[in-house]
């Protein structure tokens, strides 16, 4: 992308916003977001991310995208992972290790069930949910 | 001038904007204690003694660093401030040895003074001393890390005033020490031995190497013929050690004191200052008229400066005057010309120089050129501070001494020789004689205002009967770089050199405030000492070096002419590039 004008920036924002709202990115409707701050990585987030990729691959789950984000603030239960899938409330899982990652894929992604003992609470409302107005 | 109106302890004070609160307090007859502030330096704000209160503010200000402001109201002394200051002094004392009686600064120590004023009678806090050896690696100064109070003056002097960067804070917190990088000995660092650190140190952590013992042994040795010389700047500063105002000319008393100390002959470096002008002036004229030799010619009388140049600007070596410093010229002719004339075996001559400078202690052993006479040309250098102690310890009542005269044939001097001790003086002296050398006539007005003054760098043009001589003067080592960069740039661009002649002195104000001069030198003191030298010049019958009868005599009897072969052998030297750090 070349340097943008104001109009281009606004257009890009609108496009990306609707993508996020539809929760469909690049035709993928399910997102696994791994908290990859220093704290998460120190607690094993990289291994967890790899485990997700491997597990999704094994089950040929092509509509799932795995991305990273920063620290969610829940340091006591790192690594943390947010799962957003159609028809389900988006939830944050904590204390996710390789085994839990596999369980999340099987139960949550494939079985539409929340995984017991690992759901944690998002710490606050989103001040930008109404577009920051 | 912008004036600010403020109050010190309720008393209205008017003061120039940009001043600090210390200065404002002085105007209100109030002294605020400080151990780190020095008027030569920007406020470093380390010691914590000068804290003052601002009315209606809970935070204390540092009087050294806080600028004056309109309507500012300051409390400088109260019970709380007294207690804070006393606690700070006691804390500093808890990390400082209390061997005051055996300290180089006994009696002149600023910390000792405050301990006395604040009536410190016990050591309440845990004592932690730095257990590091003294650095005696240089011939000039001694670093005693155990005495250091980390006020930072020496580091600021070394870096900001002198641009040398030999000293730095090493380590952090209470492990901080002042030392050359990589814990190298000072002598292996870029140190130029100017000794400004020792002149600014408030305590006994950096001081001149004391060699009074060598002097005493020499004069009591019947085999030795002790001959002395005194530098121009010593005569206007030594008096301060005997409570005379700065700038008081004490030449006659110094000669007298030296004789009482048992020396055989009392000569004067000023004679050789005149000799230097003959050589260096001729050299300049030669470079200008023959086109041989690099332009600008740069003075080389200052050993700290030559050391600096060899380390930081070795590309300037060709620009340096090959003339030795007056002290070294005096040393060389003492053991040749004088020895011959007086029929004294030069091997028995012990040549002592009284100098305002610590680098002079280094200069006498710089290289083989300092043995031009076949012997060590100068055997010993004592700084003004050592000399004052020597006089006192020898029981000489300096103030009541009769004035005496120097000995012949190398003791007489022209006014030109005496102003060698201040910034611009070498230039002025050289121009007086260069005029004569170039035109065959003497200047009507020998006082050349263009090169006088205290600005760190001064430039001017001097008309020598139609020939314009572009000159520049720098003092305070850090100021020289602007000039030298100009020269380098012109050289790189193939342009005309921006100057023909440059005078450099390492210390601010010139030798009058050399690293070996009495303590508490400020710009005010510098101005008084400089005024003393100009007065000495004015009072001299002969103002120009080439008119000095003894100078004429030495050329007639011994040297032949300036730049003669003999002159070259005895009075000129060479320079070599030196590394900043020896490994």
């Amino acid at each position: 992308m070349a340097k943008m004008t104001l109009q281009e920036l606004r257009k890009l924002r609108d496009t990306k916003k609707s993508e996020i709202q539809k929760r469909v990115v690049d035709d993928k409707d399910t997102q696994i977001i791994v908290g990859m701050g220093t704290c998460g990585i120190a607690a094993g987030a990289k291994e967890v991310l790899d485990a997700f990729l491997k597990e999704l691959d094994e089950h040929n789950l092509n509509s799932v995208v795995v991305t990273q984000t920063g620290c969610m603030g829940l340091c006591y239960v790192e690594p943390t992972v947010e799962v957003i899938s159609p028809g389900m409330p988006s939830v944050i899982y904590g204390k996710v290790d390789v085994e839990v990652a596999k369980t999340i894929v099987k139960e949550h992604i494939m079985g539409n069930k929340l995984v017991t003992d690992h759901v944690f609470d998002r710490p606050s409302a989103d001040i930008l949910k109404d577009g920051g107005k | 001038m912008n004036t600010v109106h403020m109050k010190i302890n309720g008393k209205p004070v008017e003061i120039e904007a940009g001043s600090n609160i210390l200065a404002a307090a002085k105007k209100a007859n109030v002294n605020i204690p400080t151990l780190c502030y020095h008027p030569d330096l920007p406020a470093w704000a380390a010691c914590g003694l000068c804290v003052v209160k601002q009315e209606n503010s809970p935070k204390l200000l540092r009087a050294c660093a806080a600028p004056v402001q309109e309507n500012l109201s300051i409390i400088t002394h109260d019970a709380e401030l007294y207690q804070i200051r006393k606690t700070v002094i006691e804390m500093i004392l808890s990390t400082h040895p209390n061997d005051c009686l055996m300290c180089a600064r006994n009696g002149t120590c600023e910390l000792q003074r405050f301990a006395a004023e604040f009536g410190v009678r016990e050591q309440p806090y845990e004592v932690r001393l730095v257990d590091l050896p003294k650095d005696t690696s240089t011939t000039s100064i001694v670093l005693d890390p155990s005495k250091c109070i980390k006020c930072g003056r020496c580091v600021q002097v070394c870096q900001d005033m002198q641009g040398v960067f030999a000293l730095e804070f090493i380590g952090r917190g209470d492990h901080t020490v002042v030392s050359p990088a990589a814990d190298l000995p000072l002598n292996d660092s870029p140190c130029i031995k100017c000794g400004q650190c020792s002149a600014h140190c408030p305590v006994g952590a950096i001081y001149e190497k004391d060699e009074i013992g060598d002097f005493v042994r020499a004069v009591s040795n019947p085999e030795l013929h002790v001959v002395t010389q005194i530098a121009p700047a010593v005569r206007v500063a030594l008096g301060e050690s005997f409570n005379l105002p700065a700038g008081t000319i004490t030449t006659g008393k110094i000669y007298s004191a030296l004789r009482r100390l048992g020396v055989a002959k009392v000569f004067d470096t000023n004679f050789s200052a005149d000799l230097t002008i003959m050589e260096e002036g001729s050299e300049l004229v030669k470079r200008l008229t023959t086109g041989k030799g690099a332009i600008p010619q740069i003075t080389s009388c200052c050993p700290a400066w030559t050391d600096y140049m060899e380390k930081y600007y070795p590309d300037m070596i060709p620009n340096f005057s090959t003339a030795k410093s007056p002290m070294m010229m005096q040393g060389a002719i003492t053991k040749t010309y004088y020895a011959e004339k007086a029929n004294v075996d030069p091997a028995t001559i012990y040549s002592v120089a009284i100098m305002p400078c610590t680098a002079k202690k280094y200069e006498i052993g710089r290289d083989d050129n300092m043995h031009a006479s076949g012997f060590k040309d100068v055997d010993l250098v004592l700084t003004t501070r050592e000399f004052a102690r020597l006089i006192k310890a020898s029981g000489i009542d300096f103030l009541t001494l009769e004035d005496e005269k120097a000995d012949s044939p190398i003791g007489e001097y022209a006014g030109a020789g005496t102003i060698f001790g201040n910034t611009g003086g070498v230039m002025e002296a050289a121009l007086r004689t260069a005029y004569n050398l170039m035109t065959g006539e003497d200047l009507k007005n020998v006082e050349i205002d263009a090169v006088r003054g205290m600005e760190g760098v001064r430039t001017g043009e001097v008309d020598i009967k139609g020939t314009t001589l572009k000159v520049a003067v720098a003092h305070g080592m850090a100021n020289v770089s602007t000039l030298l960069e100009e020269v380098r740039e012109a050289k790189a661009n193939g342009d005309e050199p921006p100057y023909h002649f440059i005078e450099v002195m390492a210390c601010r104000g010139g030798c009058v405030s050399g690293g070996g001069q009495p303590y508490a030198t400020t710009d005010e003191v510098r101005a008084q000492r400089i005024a003393g030298l100009y007065t000495d010049d004015e009072q001299s019958e002969v103002r120009c070096s080439h008119q000095n009868p003894e100078i004429k005599q030495i050329y007639a009897d011994y040297l032949g002419a300036p730049l003669s072969e003999k002159s070259h052998h005895l009075l000129h030297t060479t320079y070599t590039e030196r590394p900043l750090y020896k490994h």
Binding site: T69, G73, N112 | C47, A66, G173
Partner: protein, 595 residues
């Protein structure tokens, strides 16, 4: 097929101990009973905080937050909420609406946290500028470049009442205004990312999670004060944050959001990263600027302030990461919006790194005015291992302790200072009854002493003397006069040190002396450490009536200080004992006592 409802039962230790399992089972039975197992999933979760109000049940997707639920409530919850779709009002968490910070309408939510600074952390991929842009990223810059004058920006900041989040809380608009009005050949904008308090990592997380918010804010400042160059001074120990900043800067440059002629506005601004070597004192702004200039990081006296004479002598706006991260939101939502959050004295939110003996440690962002109790108990879930709360340290090594008596103090700049602590950059370390207060003071003081630059004598010498006095006291060699000396030196350091590091270094001592003088006295007079922490002051003894002579302790003792025949009472050789506590941990019969 998905479930239509999810019932989440908090399975945190606190809720667990108050019958969470029974509630879970009751709910499962009730769902079965109603034949809803295909429609509703009941699961146990991790701790939700609010442990004082537990057990907690949350029902999704409505996000209904039920507190103090009992097994008996299961039936009603299922019948009302799940079957009839009506929330059970009497169990819903009732937010105290009298609090000023509840004024903002859109936080009618049970959470105590309110995230402005951390708005994007954990939401977006920090390595993808598009995600930042999608969440109103660079919209504030747009506004500033095309719709606002620099004076309007400063007015907006003034209305917002944003104060610096680095520690002292200086009004941000004033800093910017000084720099804007100052004359200089050029001006600079600096981000202080030299976070270094023990236990604080707010800035690291912000930069790792949302680097663009800082870049955008610095560009806004550049536009406002007339600077074209920014520097981010960040410690080299933060490699991930540096990496993400570098990616963010490259992406912003590619989009033309940094560099020449940003969005064709004619405004140029770029940013460079400068790495710090980790000296704590380089977080002090004048030392930081010296370090950027390549000099030794030592503070210089202020005034002149960096806003007027900063980097290379030029006017410089310097703010810390958290302050920067607030700026785009203020520009976007307006100063008025921001000023309604918090207390009269301190607007907006504050991020804390909640650590220590706390159940749910983590990064929390709360509106100013939130009480310590809310942070520690509602968000942090209370003290770990059911120990008793002793104190909380805010402001890191510059702050002080706050005791249980003051837990209901609403936190803002003024209230913490009044308590002898300070806001600081946001470290919040919780201590329990096992923490020795003298030991805590020693820890912080040693930190400050090691991090002192050594420039000014009050800090350099006073700090070490204080540290040694504390060492002496914890070693059992304390004397009563030591207390007086500590106060004397402490107050001289506070008043006469050059920078905030030295001025605040004695705070941990002075504040613990203030609140826990009896504990100091116990060390000095009784030669006892009540918390059992100071090894020189404790002894391990074997209680004759409890020891069964199992020899476990003797086998564990690393120095062979315990002797005794099998099945007879053992004895500890006090001279040989190194007080490691291995015997205490090993004994299953409670036969070892610490005195």
């Amino acid at each position: 097929m998905s479930y239509r409802n999810y019932i989440l039962v908090c399975g945190g230790t606190a809720c667990e101990s108050s019958k969470a399992t029974e509630i879970y089972e009751a709910l499962v039975n009730e769902i079965k009973h109603q034949n809803l197992t295909e429609e509703v999933q009941v699961i146990k979760t991790g701790c939700f905080g609010f442990c004082e109000q537990g057990p907690i049940v949350k029902i999704l997707p409505e996000d209904s937050f039920y507190v103090q639920v009992t097994p008996a409530d299961a039936k009603e919850l299922v019948e009302e909420h799940i079957v009839k779709g009506r929330e059970v009002k009497r169990l819903l968490y009732n937010k105290d609406k009298s609090k000023k910070h509840a004024k903002v309408e859109d936080i009618e939510f049970y959470q105590k946290q309110f995230r402005i600074v951390l708005r994007n952390c954990g939401f977006i991929d920090p390595e993808n500028i598009d995600e930042y842009i999608a969440r109103e990223g660079y919209a504030a810059l747009e506004k500033v470049l095309f719709e606002m004058t620099p004076d309007q920006v400063i007015d907006e900041l003034r209305t917002a009442g944003l104060r610096g989040r680095g520690g002292a809380g200086f009004p941000t608009w004033m800093k910017w205004n000084f720099t804007k009005q100052a004359n200089g050949e050029c001006k600079y904008v600096v981000c202080n990312a030299d976070e270094g308090d023990p236990g604080a990592y707010m800035d690291r997380s912000t930069l790792e999670g949302d680097p663009h918010s800082v870049l955008e804010a610095m560009t806004i400042a550049g536009r406002t004060v007339g600077a074209n160059q920014g520097f981010i001074y960040i410690r080299a120990e933060y490699p991930l944050a540096i990496h993400r900043l570098e990616i963010a800067m490259a992406q912003a440059r590619e989009y033309g959001l940094l560099g020449k002629n940003i969005l064709n506005s004619g405004f140029d601004f770029d940013i460079e990263i400068r790495l710090g070597a980790g000296a704590f004192v380089c977080g002090e702004e004048t030392a930081l600027l010296a370090s950027i200039e390549g000099k030794r990081g030592m503070p210089v006296p202020r005034p002149p302030f960096p806003a007027v004479k900063g980097l290379w002598g030029m006017p410089t706006v310097i703010n810390n990461v958290e302050t920067w991260a607030n700026i785009p939101v203020i520009m976007l939502k307006g100063g008025d919006w921001f000023s309604q959050i918090g207390t009269a004295d301190s607007h907006g939110t504050k991020v804390f790194a909640l650590t220590g003996k706390i159940r749910n440690s983590g990064l929390v962002e709360v509106p100013m005015g939130t009480t310590l109790r809310e942070i520690i108990y509602d968000i942090g879930g209370g003290i770990a291992n059911d120990r008793k709360f002793k104190a909380v340290q805010t402001g890191g090594p510059s702050g002080g302790v706050i005791t249980a008596d003051y837990l209901d103090t609403p936190i803002d700049f003024a209230s913490l200072t009044k308590l002898g602590s300070m806001m600081g950059s946001g470290g919040m370390i919780v201590m329990d009854e096992d923490d020795c207060i003298v030991d805590v003071a020693k820890f912080y003081l040693n930190f400050s002493v090691e991090e002192s630059c050594g420039k000014c004598s009050p800090c350099r010498i006073g700090g070490r003397t204080l540290a040694n006095l504390l060492e002496k006291i914890t070693k059992g060699n304390g004397e009563l006069k030591d207390i007086e000396q500590m106060k004397e030196i402490g107050s001289a350091m506070k008043k006469a040190s050059l920078c905030a590091l030295g001025q605040t270094a004695p705070n941990p001592i002075l504040s613990t002396l203030n609140y826990f003088e009896d504990e100091y006295m116990a060390h000095i007079v009784d030669k006892k450490c009540p918390a059992g922490k100071c090894k020189s002051l404790i002894t391990y003894n074997i209680l004759e009536d409890k020891c069964i002579g199992c020899t476990a302790c003797a086998r564990k003792c690393p120095v062979g200080a315990i002797s005794g025949e099998r099945r007879s009472v053992h004895v500890i050789d006090q001279a040989a004992c190194i007080k490691c506590g291995a015997c205490f941990d090993t004994c299953k019969f409670g036969a070892i006592e610490v005195r």
